[in-house]
């Protein structure tokens, strides 16, 4: 008699987690050599030097830091010092704005490309050239032309999340079963009605796949973009703590980025299940 699969998987996950923490703890437990030094000199130096403490934080330091952030995630101590919760909200707001704009652009253009082989051919070279450009390469150009750093960051999110949605929409629309379109034609449905009642539901799973890929990319890019322009957001938080060489805070931020990314992905997965249909 065996335990259910989910339970066994959970046990293995837990063991891996505990193993990781133990290895991490042992790895950072070691204290480096400490030299004898003048107490007055020692007062001017950091704990890495005076106590031989590892510059890498251990799981204990990390836990304490997380607890500290959880206690007051929304503090605001001036322009350049805001709580991690506020920073995450800034980032999420930016990602959603850029993402929704991209969605608004990708859906109609994707439909156009999918329904018209002529437009598909005509737009293809542009898409092929623009698609592989790293979104951050747009940043200097965006800053120079848009002349606003927060809109530039949103633009970068837009440009990186538009391609998977555009291509998936086009593909989904182009591969709608011929028979369904023929049925619609025999019933003398208007083109708009055909698009909304036949093509959209048929292509929805493919479109949702594109949207899921896009939100993942957008979340990846926002961190880098915010590190570049600074000001607010989780990317700025990472940069600011790097500036202070606070590895603990950087690791807390990494954890938060991972958690939020997972949540966004799960949200899209839910939506995907809603529109899925059996062929």
């Amino acid at each position: 008699m065996r335990a259910p699969l989910a339970l066994r998987a959970a046990i293995i996950s837990l063991l891996l987690f505990v193993g990781l923490i133990v290895v991490w703890h042992i790895g950072t437990m070691q204290r480096g050599p400490t030299l004898k030094m003048d107490p007055q000199y020692a007062k001017l130096m950091g704990s890495t030097v005076t106590q031989g403490k590892s510059a890498m934080p251990g799981p204990g330091d990390m836990g304490a830091k997380i607890w500290q952030h959880l206690q007051d995630p929304f503090y605001d101590r001036g322009t350049n010092d805001k709580g991690i919760g506020i920073q995450l909200l800034y980032s999420i707001a930016r990602v959603l704005t850029g993402y929704l704009l991209a969605l608004a652009a990708a859906l109609p253009i994707g439909f156009l490309i999918g329904m018209s082989p002529l437009m598909a051919r005509a737009l293809d070279p542009f898409i092929q050239i623009l698609k592989p450009i790293s979104p951050l390469a747009w940043m200097p150009l965006a800053l120079y032309t848009i002349k606003d750093s927060s809109i530039s960051a949103i633009f970068v999110i837009f440009i990186c999340s538009v391609w998977p949605m555009l291509l998936n929409t086009a593909f989904g629309v182009a591969t709608v079963r011929r028979e369904w379109l023929n049925v619609a034609r025999t019933l003398e449905m208007s083109p708009v009605r055909t698009a909304l009642r036949v093509i959209l539901p048929a292509a929805a799973p493919t479109i949702l796949t594109g949207m899921r890929i896009s939100i993942g990319i957008a979340w990846l890019v926002i961190v880098a973009a915010e590190m570049l322009v600074g000001g607010t957001g989780i990317g700025y938080f990472v940069w600011n703590e790097w500036n202070n060489l606070s590895i603990t805070n950087v690791m807390v931020a990494i954890l938060c980025i991972g958690l939020v990314g997972m949540l966004l992905d799960q949200l899209m997965a839910r939506l995907q299940r809603v529109v899925a249909y059996a062929d």
Binding site: Y41, L44, D148, G230
Partner: protein, 452 residues
């Protein structure tokens, strides 16, 4: 020193020490200037006196002969000093209340930063938001975008921007230098036996930006020790926050960087301070307070209030006894985001050098707002020397265009007064005299250079 009494016969306006002779150091001397009003008067007097006597020697000769009171009376005859001071001190309502000023989290920005927590901005009825920014290119673009009304820049940047080197040419103004000295050559602790620069062949160095005093000072220092900075070593631009991480990872062997980066590397036990930049050129300029020309002309009162706040903050920062308090004010996460000990070591000049010694250099960093034109000329000679600018350079007029756009000058012109003529001073870099009137000869005099 623009905060010194310009009507003191024994004092060289360009001097390096306290030359009135009554104080042990310049810092103590400046501490003697009590009220802000008095300081303001001094700044204006300095500008005027410098204008009348472009040559420091003739000013001193005259003062010795007739005495300060007579000289002042004589100058007042044809130059209304009092009203010039009043123009500067007037409290016209600023056109724009809410301002944004960008800064890079280094101690060079001390006057800009500290004016916020210590209330210098609010005293002049402006509501300034100081915004931490990730890099020099971003700060430049955000100033051009008008997201920032003014910003902290490296003093060669306004010149480079005006010349169109590394960007489109845009007229820029640099009304004040923020700090003098305050940089250092820091080497990885692995090289603690290689004190002699001749052993540095093959090293990888980092500087914050191509158009920075750091780049020029490091190149100068290496060349003076017989190393060609382009072929014998590698110099790359790395943003200050990444420097310590790179040094720890052995990606670089050392850097000439702004503080607190140097002290932070020592604090973390990965480096030692080899040479303070004051040992290369004492009282060299470093960072600057810059603003777009448009902001200056459209918001004169706001701009005056902003600059007054910064001049006052600078004057406050020159006093040794205030430095501890300043360190505490600017160290938190909202500003520099560094341990207070690190910032305090930088500002007080009592610091650990990374080799086990505690050193005391009170003027390791100092603050002086006056943008001497000869500084601009020197920067351009180095741009020429290392091939950043090619062909004929109109040193004088560019220096005037960028550095002479000082607030003092502007306010005086507004009041219908004759603005001071070009002000220059000579100085020595590693013992070699620099004459701002002969820049081409200066460039030609170096053995190691790129310029043809």
């Amino acid at each position: 020193m623009s905060l010194q009494n310009p009507l003191n016969a024994t004092l060289a306006l360009a001097s390096n020490t306290c030359s009135c002779g009554q104080h042990s150091s310049q810092t103590v001397h400046d501490a003697a200037l009590v009220s802000a009003e008095q300081r303001l008067t001094r700044v204006v007097e300095s500008a005027v006196v410098r204008a009348i006597f472009p040559d420091d020697r003739s000013r001193r000769a005259l003062l010795r002969k007739v005495g300060a009171a007579t000289a002042l009376a004589a100058i007042s005859q044809f130059f209304p000093l009092r009203s010039a001071t009043e123009v500067f001190a007037q409290t016209a309502a600023p056109e724009k209340q809410d301002l944004k000023v960008g800064f890079i989290p280094i101690t060079c920005a001390t006057p800009i930063i500290m004016a916020h927590p210590m209330g210098f901005y609010s005293k002049h009825k402006i509501n300034v938001e100081v915004v931490k920014t990730a890099g020099w290119a971003v700060i430049r673009d955000k100033t051009l975008n008008k997201e920032y009304d003014a910003a902290h820049m490296l003093s060669p940047m306004p010149i480079a921007i005006t010349l169109g080197v590394g960007s489109n040419p845009i007229p820029y103004t640099m009304p004040a230098v923020e700090n003098i000295n305050g940089q250092a050559i820091t080497l990885s602790i692995r090289h603690k036996d290689k004190i002699d620069p001749k052993a540095w062949k093959g090293f990888k160095f980092a500087v914050p930006f191509d158009y920075s005093m750091h780049n020029y000072l490091l190149r100068y220092f290496l060349a003076e020790h017989g190393l060609d900075p382009d072929t014998d070593v590698q110099i790359r631009a790395i943003p200050p926050p990444e420097m310590v991480a790179n040094l720890r990872a052995d990606n670089i062997d050392g850097f000439l960087a702004p503080d607190p980066v140097n002290q932070r590397a020592v604090y973390d036990g990965v480096a030692f301070i080899h040479t303070l930049s004051k040992q290369i050129w004492d009282r060299h300029p470093c960072c600057a307070f810059a603003a777009s020309k448009e902001f200056v002309t459209t918001n004169p009162n706001t701009y005056a209030a902003l600059l007054k706040s910064i001049i006052e903050a600078t004057a406050f920062a020159t006093k040794a006894e205030n430095r501890k308090q300043i360190a505490e004010a600017i160290a938190p996460a909202n500003y520099l985001n560094q341990p207070v000990t690190v910032v305090e070591q930088v500002l007080t000049g009592t610091f650990a050098d990374g080799l086990g010694n505690v050193r005391s250099v009170p003027d390791r960093i100092d603050f002086d707002p006056f943008p001497w034109e000869s500084f601009a000329v020197w920067i351009m000679t180095q741009m020429k020397r290392w091939g950043q600018i090619k062909g004929e350079v109109d040193y004088g007029s560019v220096a005037k265009q960028v550095f002479l756009a000082t607030d003092t000058t502007r306010l005086m012109e507004e009041a219908g007064l004759k603005a001071p003529k070009a002000t220059s001073k000579t100085f020595a870099v590693m013992g070699k005299e620099f004459d701002p009137t002969k820049p081409e000869e200066y460039v030609a005099s170096f053995a190691i250079k790129r310029a043809s």
